[in-house]
C-alpha cells in the first residue's frame, strides 16, 4: 500500500492545497487487492459486509476483511473472495430493478484498541447496483477517520459511475472485485499565513532599496549652519545696537 501512504504524506506536508483529486489518480494506479495478502500486519482486521436484495431489505453478508493498521502511518488493505454464481445472478437482478448495493463496516478506532469492542453500530454506504455491474465491479472504497483515529464514514463509488443500460455479457467480468481502497484522515485547515506575508513585505522593502539613514539635522546641514552662526556672531559682536534696531524695525 505504498501509494496510500505516499498520498497521506503528501497531504500532511502540504496542508494548504488539498489535492484529493490527484490523490485518486494515484490510488487508481495502485495494485489490485488479492495479491500480497499474506503481508505481516501488526494491525487488526474488521469485516466488510455487503447487501444487495431485490426487495431492498438489507441482509448483510461477508464480502471480505479489511486489514487496518493504525499508528503513525495508517494503512489499509482488503482481502476479498470472488462472487459466487448465485451472487452474480442476484446482483444482476438487483441491477435490473435499479436496486442498491450497500456495504458496511463496523465502527472502530485505529489508534485505541481498547475501545473497539465498546462501540456499536456500523457505517453504511451505497452505490447503485447497475453502476457496479456496468463498471465490471471496479469500485473505490474510501474510509474516513476523524482526528482521534475513529472511523467515521465509508463511501463507495464505481468508475465509471453512470448507468447506461449496457448489458454485461461476460460472466467473468463479475467474478472478482477490482477495488481501490483508501483511508483519508482529516486535513488540517490552514492558519493565516502571517509569517510568509511579513517575509514578502520585507523582501519588497529591500527591493525598493535601503531607505536613507536618518541623519540628524546638524549632521545634514552643518555646512550651512556653521557659517551662518559664525556670521551672526561676528556681526553681533561688531554692532549690537544695529541688531536691536533691525529687530525693532521688524516689529
Amino acid at each position: 500500500m505504498a501509494s496510500v501512504s505516499r498520498s497521506f504524506l503528501l497531504l500532511s506536508i502540504i496542508p494548504t492545497i488539498l489535492i484529493l483529486c490527484a490523490d485518486f489518480a494515484c490510488c487508481n494506479t495502485g495494485r489490485k487487492t488479492g495479491d500480497g495478502l499474506d503481508t505481516d500486519f501488526s494491525g487488526f482486521s474488521v469485516p466488510l459486509e455487503h447487501s444487495f436484495e431485490v426487495d431492498d431489505v438489507s441482509r448483510f453478508r461477508m464480502r471480505g476483511a479489511l486489514q487496518l493498521r493504525g499508528g503513525r502511518e495508517t494503512s489499509v488493505s482488503l482481502s476479498q473472495s470472488q462472487l459466487s454464481e448465485e451472487d452474480r445472478n442476484n446482483l444482476k437482478e438487483v441491477a435490473a430493478v435499479d436496486g442498491l448495493y450497500k456495504i458496511r463496516v463496523p465502527r472502530v478506532s485505529l489508534t485505541d484498541r481498547q475501545t473497539e469492542r465498546q462501540m456499536d453500530g456500523y457505517l453504511t454506504a451505497f452505490v447503485r447496483a447497475c453502476s457496479l455491474v456496468e463498471s465490471h465491479l471496479s469500485d473505490v472504497i474510501t474510509l474516513h477517520t476523524d482526528v482521534s483515529g475513529y472511523l467515521i464514514g465509508v463511501s463507495i463509488v464505481t468508475i465509471p459511475g453512470a448507468c447506461r443500460g449496457t448489458e454485461v455479457e461476460d460472466e467473468v467480468d463479475l467474478e472478482a472485485f477490482n477495488t481501490t481502497l483508501t483511508i483519508i484522515p482529516p486535513t488540517n485547515a490552514p492558519q493565516p499565513e502571517t509569517a510568509l506575508f511579513i517575509e514578502r513585505m520585507d523582501i519588497e522593502h529591500e527591493k525598493r532599496g535601503k531607505p536613507q539613514e536618518q541623519k540628524s539635522f546638524f549632521a545634514k546641514y552643518w555646512m550651512y549652519i556653521v557659517p551662518l552662526v559664525l556670521f551672526l556672531m561676528m556681526s553681533g559682536a561688531q554692532d549690537q545696537s544695529g541688531v536691536g534696531a533691525a529687530n525693532g524695525g521688524g516689529r
Binding site: 483529486c21 465502527r107 453504511t124 482526528v147 482521534s148 475513529y150 463511501s155 482529516p186
Partner: protein, 972 residues
Amino acid sequence: MKSSVKMAKLTSLFVILLSFFCISEAVFEDQVGKFDWRQQYVGKTLFAHFESNTQSSKKMFVATDKNIFASFNSRTGDLLWRHVDKTGPEGTIDILLLHGQDALMVVGDGRLLRSWDTNIGGLNWEVVLDTGSFQAACFVAIQDTVKLVAVLKKAAISLHYLSNGHQKWVENLPDSDAVQYQAVYSGGEEEVYVLGVVPNSHLTIIAYSLEDGEIIKQRSVEASWLSSVESSCVVVGQGVLMCVDPATLALYTLPIQAEETPEFSQILLQSLDLEVSPGFQPVLVSSQPHPARSPLSEFFLQLGPDHHVLLQLNADGYTIAPLRDFQPAFLVSFATTGKKTVAAVMTPKNETACAINLFSVDSGRRLLDTTVLFPLEPNGGKPHMLYVHAFLKKDDSVGYRVLVQTQDHALTFIQQPGRVVWTREEALADVVTMEMVDLPLTGTQAELEGEFGKKADGLFPMVLKRLSSQVTLLQAWLAHLWKLFYEARKPRSQVKNEVTIETLSRDEFNLQKMMVMVTASGKLFGIDSKSGSILWKHYLENVQPNAAFKLIVQRTTAHFPHPPQCTLLIKDKDTGLATLHVFNPIFGRKSHIALPALPRPILQSLLLPVIDQDYAKVLLLVDDQYKVTAFPSTKNVLQQLQEMASSIFFYLIRSEHGNLSGFRLRKDLSTERIWEVVLPTEVQKIVAVKGKRPNEHVHSQGRVMGDRSVLYKYLNPNLLAVVTESTDAHPERAFVGVFLVDGVTGRIIHEAVQRKARGPVHFVHSENWVVYEYWNTKSRRNEFSVLELFEGTELYNSTVFSSLDRPHLPQVLQQTYIFPSPITTMEATLTEKGITSRHLLVGLPSGAILSLPKMFLDPRRPEVVTEHSREENLIPYAPEMPIRTEWFINYNQTVARVKGIYTAPSGLESTCLVVAYGLDIYQTRVYPSKQFDVLKDDYDYVLISSVLFALFFATMISKRLAQVKLLNRAWR
C-alpha cells in the same frame, strides 16, 4: 431532494466583466432613508411607569425581558432613548422603581444598583451590591421626603442614598438559612420592616432602625398555612399585613408595627359572601401611592380569572368591608394623582372591544364619563396588563390615559374617549424566522394573466375577451395618466401613497415585497418591505415559549388565480410534536385547507420541487418512525410521489448521537436507511448543518484563469456543510471540524480540522464555497476561513449533476484570514440570476452590518503576484481582512443585537434586498456589483435626447444639402 439539477450554459465573459465592479459604494447623504428603514423595539414589558402625574407629561419608562430600559414619548409611541444591557441573566432587570426624576433599577439578580436621570436617560450613579440573590426593594422616606432605597437580598439588607448611591448601612439578616426573607416595607416611619417566612411554620418580622441599621424588634408569628409572603401577602392601611390562604379560603390580617407579640386574625371569605373560582389561586393587589405614607386601606382581591372584588380594611385593623364586586373584569389597576386614587377596571364589552372604567377607591362608585374602549383584534392576544396614567384636569376631575399590554407583547396606548394613540408590536423584538414573498399583480394585470389560464371556448369569445381586457387596460392607463396630471398640480408634500393591504401590488422591478416575520411569541406579521408598515398580524395562541418554527413558501404569487400559500411548521421542543399553520402571506388569513394529522413527533421536513395540480409544492414530514406524511396529500401528489420515490432522498441528523444518516423514499411512503456516518460524541459534537438555499442560481459554471483555461466549480446542490466543535475545551487541543457531506450518498467530500479553534462558528454555504468564522484560541483572535471546491479543468458530466454519478472528489482550496472583530451572524447576498458578484453580509456586535466582497475571501488569492493572477484580477494575499467603514451598509443605523440577516433577490439583477433582524429590524438594498442595470438618479435625459435630436436633424439637413450639391454638379 432531487439528485440532479440542470446546468445552464457557461458564460465566462461576465466573470471577467464583473470582477471589475468589485467594491460597493456607501450611500450618499441624500439617499439616507430612501431605500432603507429601521424600526427599534424593546421587547416584552416587565415594568412600566409614567412620568409625573400631569396632563402634559409625555414620558413613560419601561423595563423589559430583553434587559432594556427605555423611555417612550407617550404621545407618539416613539422611542426617546433606550439602554441595551447585556443579554442573559447578567443584565436581567429585577425591579424598576420611579421617584421624581430618578429611576432606580436593580440589575443582574442583585448585582448592580443603578440610578438613571429620567429626563435625558443618563446614568446618575451605579453601585455594585454585595453578593446574594435579589428579593425585594423599596423607597424609604425620612421625614416625609424620599431619601433612601432599601434593597433586600437573601441574607442581607442594605440602605443606599438616593442622591449618590452611597451605602448608609448594610446588615446581615438573622437566621437567613432557615428563614426566607421575601419582602421589605417602609411606611414613612423611623423603621424599615423585613418580612420573612419559614414555609408552613411561622412568619418573621424584623424592624431595623433607619439611623444605624440596629434591630429594634424581632417578632415571630405562628403561621402554619403560609408558604410565601411574596405571592400571597400585601401591606394595606396603617401597616397591616394582609394575606390570603387558598386552602382555608380566608384572609389573615396582622399589624406589623404592633408592640406586643401579635397574632394573625382570620376572616373567612365566606363571611364576606365571596367565593373563589375552583382551582384558582386568589391574588391580592394593593397600592402605596407615596413611599412616605402608608398604603391605601383599599385593596383588590382576585377570586377568579375574571372576578375581582374591591375591599376596604376598616380603621380597627381587622374587619373588612366589601366595596364593590367586579364580575366580569379581566384586569384591575390602581392609579393616583395628587390626593386622589382611583381604580381602573377592564371589563369585556362585546366581541370586539373591552371597556375600561374608573372607580373611586373610597366608595367604589363609578366615575362619570371615564369609559374608554379598548379594541380587541380578532387575531390578537388577550389583555394581560393595565398601566394607568391618571392626572387631574383643569376642573379638578380625574382624567386618565391607559397603556394595555396584551399577551402577544403588544403595547396599546389609549386616550379618552377611546382613541388608540399608538400601538407598539414588541413581539418584533424577537423575530425567529422570516421569508419574503412577491406581491401580487394589480387587478388588471391579473385579469390579463387569467385570460391564459382559462379554458378556451372558441375563437370568437376569445377575441371578445382579449378586446375587453385590452379596454380595461386602456382604462386603467388613462386613469393613471389623469391621476398623474391631477397630482402634478399639488405640492409634492401632499401627495402621499399610503400603503394599505388593498393597494398592494408588485412594482416594476419587484423591489417591494411582503416580509412575513415569525416571532418567538407566536405572532406572525406581514410587513411591507418598502415602508416597513405592518400590513397584517396574526397571533397564534397555544404556542409553547420554546417552540421551533420553520416557515415554508409552498406556493408563490406566480400562480394566479391560486393565492400564494405559506406554511408554518411549529414544533414543540419538548415533545417534538408539530402543528401546521397554513396561511396566505399577502393578507395573513388562515387557509381552510385540510391539515394532515401529525400524531408522532416530527424529525425532518423537506419541500419537494414536485407540485400538485394547484401549483403548491409538496411538503414531506418525516416522523420518528421514519414514516412520511405528504402535505398536500391529494391523489395526484401521491401518484407523483410513487413515481419519483426512488429519486427522493433525505437525511436526518441526531446531533446528540453524532449520527448522520440518509434515507430513500419507498413507494408506500415508508423509508429505508441507505447510509450512515457517525461522528463519535466523545471527540466532537455537531453544532450546525447547512445545505444550500434552493432559490440560489449560479450563473457561471467556472472561473476563467489567467491562461484562458476554465476551472470548473463543483456545484453539488445536495452538499451539506456540517460544523463540529471538539468536546475537549482545552485551548491547545480544541478544534473546529468542517465536514462536507453529500446529502444523497452520505459521501464525505471533504473533512477539514481547524486546530486550536473553538466556536461559536458562523458559516455560510453557497455555490461552491463555504465561509466560516471561529475563535482562534492560541492567537486569541477571530479568523475567517474559506473553502472552495472545484471539479478541475474538465467537467465530468456537463449537462446534469447527479450525486450518484460523480466518482471523482473535487479539488478543495482553502485559505484563512484574520478578522479584526467578532461577529454575530453572517449571510450571503442573493440575486435573481446569480450574475452579480457575491458579498457576505456580516453582522457585527456593534450593530453595524458589513458588506464584505467575496473577492477578499478567495482561496486562490496568490501569495506571490504573477502575470496570471493579475490577469484574473486576484487580490494578493494579505493575512488580515480589512474592515472599511464605507462597507457598512447601515451607516449609523445600527441594529442592536443582530440575530439574523435575510437576503432575497429582486427583479433587478444588480439589487439584493436585505433584512437584518435582532432587537431592531433594518431593511435595505445592496448592489454588490453596483447598479449596472439601472440609470443613475441624476442621469441627464435632456442632454442625451437633445443630442440625439440634433444629430438626427443634422443628418437630415446634410443629406438634403448633399443631394442639392450632387444635383448641381450633375447639371454642370
